[in-house]
Amino acid sequence: MNAHTARSRIMKRTSAIVAVAVIAALAATPGQTQELPVRNCTWCHGPSAQGSGAAPRIAGQREQYLVSQLHAFHDRSRDNPASKQYMWGATARLSPEMARDFALYFSSLPAEAAEDGDTGLAALGKVIYEQGVPDANVVSCIVCHGPRGEGFEAIPRLGGMSHGYLKSRLEQWGQGYHASARPMPLVARTLSADEIEALASYLSFLK
């Protein structure tokens, strides 16, 4: 009984100390995200914005691209199933200023490569990425997205994005979603399932 009482006391004291320490730590950190509620984004896109699940990496993404996509969600022209489900609501009340701020913030974060594609397919993906398949009217991606998949202005950075995200975007363009994002629907329509798989694999490793 005494032992239990003592244990209980220690526990109470320990939990109190822990609580105080944590509160102190919390209070001591500068509120770097006070104005910009980045947690609204990192909630799904991962704490370092490296993407999680269906939510793509947004860290290091092109600022102009991020802005354009936020607007596309807002005006509902980007109508992929996941966009519709998550991003329409998330951007419904987003002001253009805040969209710009978010874009600026996330574009400034360092990006990590997902490296979750099929390594065996990466070589084929590289050929398609760099050269296209002219016989099949598949354009080369490199001309718009750059040799390291770095993107350009409002053309997104692709290097190191997750295999699953890239794949579903390409598939969904082929299915008619987000038709306003020309010329990507045209590109996606010419790609076979295998080629999409290979491209997504290659890009997931590209840094």
Binding site: M1, H4, T5, R7, S8, M11, K12, S15, V18, A19, V22, I23, A25, L26, T29, P37, R39, N40, T42, W43, C44, G46, P47, S48, S52, G53, A54, P81, A82, Q85, Y86, G89, A90, A92, R93, L94, D116, S162, H163, G164
Partner: protein, 577 residues
């Protein structure tokens, strides 16, 4: 729940044997039912356990949808089951925004839950408690099971809460249901990203974000007017919810590793009363007091309370009569989980532990029961645009060092044997306590849920309870017969073979019309119309006549209890707005 049920069940004191057993039976039936609801099958943290016998549930809280601008399906597959995003919303302390601001629409939501319950064979007695739902029938019960009011959302900055106030129709009272308050922040230490939170809640695993732990495990809703027999539950399952205060801290590292520590403290009876958690009283005691104690014992100065007053006129009576167990000391709880998300997949493996130090029946002087509950759990989810599959498995093993109950049982037996009149009108615990000072109980659950297009869900669950052999704990038909001289069904967990072993299957189908967005007028509304069926494979170590008892049905035909008699069809409608 056998222990609790015994504790709260009929007294063996004095004229107990002469009291109408029916009342006792009702009581026990009621407790068994509430346990089913709460814990085993239990909805979320639902609360109250054997004690009060009400159950509740929290679900897709529309105020969350308003605050985030997200449809229910962002966080829930089939609510209240969470998606990876739902888990992160909770871990972030309900503070994610993106939708309406609190001043535009307060984070208040409401919910009603009308249900209909039908068992394969009607119960021996209508499921209700002495002052509870007055119009329950032995079968086919329609009830507006509960109505809840939520505060759900950000309070300010990084502080957020889910608090649920519930009116429970079956027990006809209002109480503070699942409550979880959090303060969170994020830190980066080099490559390490840490989401740190402080948390206060009112029941173990109420704060947990996976649906493998008892508070939010499958099935998510169950009848408050449930069948007479239900398997016993472990401590972490049977829900200290609503009767304890847990404080703790957690950290979620790199979006992957979750570590949590908490301590649960007892709530004072006064606080329980304030929060609406009525404390079940001992009917024997009341009957004793009202019927004859006052006459037998005129006022005696110096007694700790005026036992002769009608119980209802003296709050202290009520307080003392509270027969629920309480936590004797701060009881630790820990949780470890590793969740890995890749693409559309999410896998979690984890473990948790709860070590309640229980004061049985709040009776001091006989010692404390020490429990050690260790749970292992795993959950796999695959969610894409159309399909969502969730597979869950949980195994909880409990070591019971029943020091206090055992000692009280011996004392009760001694009192009964010696014919000693207990001046307080209350035996230490009713019944004889457990046969063994140390028992074990194991609860295994596995379930799978498939949701199509976020609107139609189908689930199958399997539960299996095994434990050590204990005649007194799990009932003894021969003993009952011998004791009472007549054969009654008392509804008490009764096993002809002294085993808790039970198993069953649960099927659940539901339609959630508003998961992708509610009606135009109020797009945050959520609803779930569901049908569930529980099929008992065995109860208390048997299938046919598992309790060794029988009853004269309709006054003439003799009937025994079969496990499948309890098979329950349950129709429910959740409407939250």
């Amino acid at each position: 729940m056998p222990i609790d049920a015994r504790r709260t069940g009929g007294s063996r004191f004095g004229a107990a044997e002469t009291l109408p057993p029916l009342a006792e039976g009702r009581r026990r039936a009621f407790h068994a039912r509430s346990l089913l609801v709460v814990g085993a099958v239990g909805l979320t943290g639902a609360v109250t356990l054997g004690l009060a016998g009400f159950s509740s549930s929290a679900k897709a809280v529309p105020s969350f949808a308003r605050q985030t601008g997200q449809p229910c399906a962002t966080c829930h597959t089939a609510f209240p089951e969470l998606t990876p995003m739902g888990r992160r919303f909770k871990l972030n302390g309900y503070t994610i925004t993106g939708g309406t601001e609190p001043w535009e629409a307060p984070p208040i939501a409401a919910m009603v839950l009308p249900t209909f319950t039908k068992t394969k064979v009607q119960a021996d007695t209508p499921p209700t408690n002495p002052d509870g739902y007055p119009i329950a029938h032995v079968n086919d019960n329609f009830i507006m099971q509960q109505a809840s009011l939520f505060y759900g959302g950000k309070i300010f900055d990084n502080l957020g809460a889910l608090a649920q106030g519930t009116y429970d129709k079956a027990s006809q009272h209002t109480y503070l249901d699942n409550t979880d308050i959090r303060y969170t922040n994020t830190f980066n230490f080099g490559p390490l990203n840490a989401l740190v939170g402080l948390n206060a809640n009112n029941g173990p695993t109420v704060q947990d974000v996976w649906n493998t732990t008892p508070a939010w495990g499958f099935p998510y809703v169950a009848a408050t007017l449930a069948p007479a027999f239900s398997p016993p539950l472990t401590q972490v399952e049977n829900g200290w919810g609503g009767r304890t205060v847990g404080t703790g801290a957690y950290v979620f590292l790199n979006d992957m590793l979750y570590l949590e520590g908490a301590a649960y403290h007892n709530m004072s009876k006064g606080m329980l009363g304030t929060l609406g958690q009525t404390c079940p009283y001992n009917s024997d005691y009341i009957q004793n007091v009202n019927a004859w104690a006052a006459a037998a014992y005129p006022a005696v100065p110096g007694l700790p309370f005026p036992a002769w007053q009608p119980w209802s006129q003296n709050p202290q009576n009520y307080s003392l009569a509270c027969s629920s167990s309480s936590l004797a000391y701060a009881s630790p709880y820990w949780r470890v989980a590793l969740e890995k998300n890749w693409g559309e997949h999410s896998l979690m493996i984890g473990a948790f532990g709860f070590y309640p130090e229980v004061l049985p029946g709040r009776v001091m002087g006989y010692g404390v029961d020490h429990y050690r509950d260790i749970g292992w759990d795993a959950q796999y989810q695959w969610i894409n645009d159309v399909h969502a599959v969730t597979l869950k498995v949980t195994r909880i093993s409990e070591m019971q060092n029943l020091e206090g109950t055992f000692a009280q049982g011996i004392a009760t037996q001694f009192i009964n044997a010696m014919g000693i009149l207990n001046m307080y009108g209350v035996a230490p615990i009713p019944g004889n306590g457990p046969s063994n000072p140390i028992n074990y109980l194991m609860s295994f659950k596995a379930s799978g849920t498939y949701v199509w297009d976020r609107t139609i869900s189908g689930s199958i669950g399997y539960f299996h309870v095994t434990g050590s052999h204990d005649y007194w704990q799990y009932g003894n038909a021969l003993y009952n017969t011998f004791q009472t001289g007549a054969i009654y069904s008392n509804g008490n967990p009764s096993s002809a073979v002294g085993l808790p072993n039970s198993a069953g299957l649960i099927f659940d189908f539901a339609y959630m019309p508003f998961s992708k967005g509610g009606p135009e007028l109020w797009p945050w509304a959520n609803a779930k119309i569901g049908l569930s069926y529980t099929h008992y494979l065995s109860l208390y170590g048997g299938t046919a006549n598992f309790d060794g008892n029988g009853i004269y049905y309709n006054g003439s035909s003799w009937r025994t209890h079969t496990a499948t008699d309890n098979n329950t069809l349950f129709l429910y409608t959740w409407v939250a707005f």
